[in-house]
Symmetry: T
Subunit: 146 residues, 12 copies
């Protein structure tokens, strides 16, 4: 089993960006934790980060034949990107949406997710652990489906 992991805009800032909201883990630490968890479950990951919506769409288009599912933290694109929603829907792959913080507990413009309606499920608010729970959720979903 192979899963694409996508980190959206600003996630390279992790660790120094508003730690009361996003925790003190860096992106490398999140990726290391993901890789370790994936190995333990016999799953391979393709991890990608970009600040550019277009590059994320390109990556999703390219990676889609090689993976069975997508784990994505869309960052600020969650609330604004119809293109990302269309891409995720167009791939025909199960998607799990994760967030470090809980958008529903923040500013009103973060209460709308364009991604959630096209995702299998959402995990939000657990910091680094959101990714690990989301990965488990996606693997569980893929195993159930097959």
């Amino acid at each position: 089993m192979r899963i694409a992991v996508v980190h959206g805009p600003n996630l390279r800032l992790l660790g120094r960006r508003e730690p009361h909201l996003y925790g003190s883990n860096t992106l490398s630490e999140i990726n290391a934790a993901l890789e370790q968890a994936a190995r333990r479950r016999g799953v391979e990951l393709e991890i990608f980060q970009s600040n550019s919506e277009g590059e994320i769409l390109d990556f999703l288009e390219g990676v889609s034949p090689r993976v069975q599912g997508v784990l994505i933290n869309p960052g600020g694109l969650t609330h604004t990107s119809v293109c990302l929603r269309d891409a995720l829907l167009g791939l025909g792959l199960p998607v799990v949406e994760v967030h470090l913080s809980n958008p529903m507990a923040r500013e009103p413009f973060r209460h709308r997710s364009l991604v959630a309606p096209v995702a299998v499920g959402t995990v939000a608010g657990f910091g680094l652990q959101s990714y690990l729970l989301g990965l488990d959720g996606l693997i569980g979903y893929l195993q159930r489906e097959t």
Copy 2:
């Protein structure tokens, strides 16, 4: 470590209620899976279901001195109950909100959660697995805090 698990209104209908939305697991199966997962992690659970907002508030008030956290699927109260929100906030305990289906992918009146803003985190859309991921998320949170 001891955790309260609350199933809100209509969750006894599980298994026969709209299985395309909520899956085919019964509440007993969910509880059994939760108990097993909790045992494996050395955690005790107090599980409660009620169709009555008032009984849920009574339970939360009574259980709060005995537990370190609350795992709750508020069902339809998620979108309407200011009282539940006030109770969860008033307890001063970390709360994790779980949903079998993904409310953000359903009718607009399910897009507002009164619970999410007072919860540590939310897990939605993974069926039975939402509970298990939520339990892991809550245990992880409690371990980090101490």
Copy 3:
């Protein structure tokens, strides 16, 4: 044929509560008229009233294996209870919604019905007669379906 009749909150106040809106019939008179009409049509009724949303959900859950349809006046819950909507949908039984007064002719917060979208039909504004027309409508529906 067996039908559950549910009177929601405040309906025990009938007869003394704002008679210009709700008419001067008491709940007993409504029930007697319903029983008489049901007998004439060879239908049995199970009538239930509660001021508690939770007790109504409990009743619906318990009565559902014994009845072929539900006649309900949800009172104020019409406009606020996602839980009631979910319960009615979860039962998989045809539901007819009745109102003594016409909510669409009253305050704006009564213009939204969470029940109507999951009901076969709605009868509103005819006082006691709303129940009798609703019963006829439900019986007609059940006979057509079989």
Copy 4:
């Protein structure tokens, strides 16, 4: 007792128009059923259909001295016609609004009824039977008032 029955726009399409929504009865069948029910109750009907708001207003104005009440399915005018509302109010006659389908269970623009607030009552969702229940409701209302 004499009652005007008004069928609004598009109701001549019945039987071939979206039968999953409106049932398979034709307008003639509905009228026959209404006539039969009226005869049984000793009531005379004046039945009118038009696709034109203006002709309906003309009919209502002309018929009003000859009838004691109005049974109307305003079709799409329900949601848009201030003129129809004003006419019904201006007649000073009791009005019952009927719908074959349940507008509250359909698109949001059907959730507003300009007619309901000026009607004695509303019956919706029962197909052909909506008319018969509405007729009963109107006759009952007229008998109570006198």
Copy 5:
């Protein structure tokens, strides 16, 4: 100088329709008063009433080469008819909008006028006198322009 006077839907009901809102004058009395006032000012009128939006558009199209201005009480069309607005704009003639009652003091759906933004001016709330003041306003406007 020649002016078209248009009475919209329901205005033939005047005198018996809700006199607390619309006054006790009949449409004939209004027309007589208008004719008398016009004669005194050396102006000819073409008066037209219809309950049908389409007939009003036809009349406006036909009358436009013969008149210098339009005095219109659009009735309920005021709030709903984009077609009437487009017609009035398309004529290229000055329009004065009059109302017997004051729509801004009534239900919220009467607070929007599609006609006002394409009219020279509006007179509302003075009953029969609204027409006379509107006629004066229109004549004054036409005299100033020439």
Copy 6:
């Protein structure tokens, strides 16, 4: 008969302020025309202008025992002043609202009038003539009432 005429804020700017909207008449010319029209109708006027909401309220309070009605162009206060509305209502005198331009044809924030719902009638869009028509409307109203 004695009538108070109130010119709200900015009306001293008339003649030089946006003449395409408000016409080229100065406030003196409007007052002269009003005085002349009043004299011709045997009516006395008390004319007042202020840029201050408070002074207008003071004037209305003081003048109310001496007059039978109020002709007011509330200017920008039309859309914002709950106090002015309360004062006009509190006086117990008939009020006519006039506007030089037609607020309904301008920015959306001018579409709400707090004054209209407490006024006998409104005249808008006729420039200087709005005042004269409004005066006629008010006199007509006062004569009908007595």
Copy 7:
């Protein structure tokens, strides 16, 4: 004189629940202060608390023949319960609404009160003292009416 005092959901949490919002008084202390104040004014109280909307409706229905007025802190039900509003209106007794904190200074969903429009008056923001002021207000109202 006899007055019903109703404490809505979560009020048993007082003293430990968010003291910066609700003060440090417990419910017992509030009740003791109310009893003392009532005694001093020669008034008897029937005090009731419940976390269940249904039980509150039951209590109001039962107590209404024995009391002349109702003092109620509806807690979170203030903003969501059409049923409570209908019950208070149906009783035909004067109602005073009190709040420990000031809902208008908190989250937007607390800015709507379904109770206020059916209450004689509201006291909010004074902590324990809100109850005492509300009691005084209710007694004063009852004395004025008789």
Copy 8:
């Protein structure tokens, strides 16, 4: 192949009505261009214009057995007529919506189309050419379907 062409209200004004918005072509010129284009493609047209919603519904009902598709410029009815939408849906024929101007570039009340959601496609903004492109689009659609 036979296609109904419907011109909604006000389209007889073309050529003299706001030419900066609607172009300088008259309705006859549009019809001539349509006839010529249809002949070249071996298609017959039935062209109809009316200012009356009711007559358009009558025409659609009558013409539907004789045609394979409908090309319609609904004019102002686009934004207001639920009846037209219901008729187009009820016919079960493919519909193409055309507009001379681009409604999305005009007043906000023109941004909602009740027709678009029941149409195969929409062409807007090209003046006379909108009709020709829409005709091509409809013919193409009909050829693909068969």
Copy 9:
């Protein structure tokens, strides 16, 4: 202890202004009752009324060094004056807001209070007694704080 009492616009009209809403007490009677109550509690008052927002701001600015708290009935400014809110916040003194009637039971534009969020508490609906309860509430607050 010294307290400023501010009566906003239109309060001099009390006694003759809509007595069903505001009671029959005059402002002098309210002031006399306030003075008497203050004397009994050993508190001095500085009472001020103005119809002008600006004068109220001037008074508040001038009086602030001499008083420990402000009792204010902002009248219509409650719903519209950002300036009053800013002034009350800028003073750094505790403020109690009182209303004779209950704004939440009146027109929608009275449901928003710009003052409430910056006030210690609000008392509304008790007529003259609102002031006395508000004074008690403010004194109680000041005594608790010291």
Copy 10:
């Protein structure tokens, strides 16, 4: 004549992405059809696709001196990109907007087009043919202008 053709985000997915919405043509097939149609009309095309808003802006800026018009399918950017709108407006070239599906018949967030108000015209819902009709519309527009 030379025309720029811009395909926005996700259009490389065509053929495999939700064929019930977007048809089964690939982007290559669309481009081939466009090239063929252009050749037949003596027009040269510059075709560009990108998933990146920024790259589209760069392309438009660079291509603008070489082309007389722009044919664009903005994909999901239609509903979200103020930047694209500004670029299209800034170019000073006529723009035609095309869509494979009909956004007005889909989710509400697709009902707003930021591009339409700055476009000559829009063609939507005809699949591949939308492009060809749009190309014809643009060529027709350019020929009329010169």
Copy 11:
């Protein structure tokens, strides 16, 4: 060159009013800094402060013949005063709007500026420096125009 400087309501409170928002400068210090900056640029100032909207309108009307531009901090009137907007527009002078704090970063009711749309430009958030930058901006604008 001569410029009017207007300080709106509450600006005399500066220095003691919420210094975290408005800074610790007093109004005198701001005026001194403005005078010094103006002298250095050879510009004369007329500085005015009032808490009264009416007095500000009077000042603007009076000063307008003597100045070439207006620098204004409208305080709370920014969000509520249609009259101020109308006055600024009526003067026909360039206006620069300044704010000590950044209203867009504060409560939602501060996000609407009625002044900004009639101003040349806006400077907000720089404390005392906002005035100096605004003065520079206004002088630069006036020099460019001449």
Copy 12:
């Protein structure tokens, strides 16, 4: 002192893009004016322009260790980019937002700024001078803070 200057999308079009809105200065001229002003104040600039949100985020991330503040004209991203807001907040550097035109005086979708709430201050409407005033404001802010 070193400051990053960011020009958002479409700013390379300056000089030829809608000069009535954005002025006739080119981006080079703005940059030259900024460099000159910076030199005079002993400040170094790093100037960056991109049409791509992603590249702007990359630049901000890279430049942040080298600069003390950010001067940004976000162009159309102002109103749509949650990502840009998050990046600016994540940098922990003071930000000044500038606009050539005044967005508050343009289309409603430009009235919301996602950047303003995370900026020290905003300068809008002064054309090229907006940048110079913004630079002064940022330098002043940085000097005050140290």
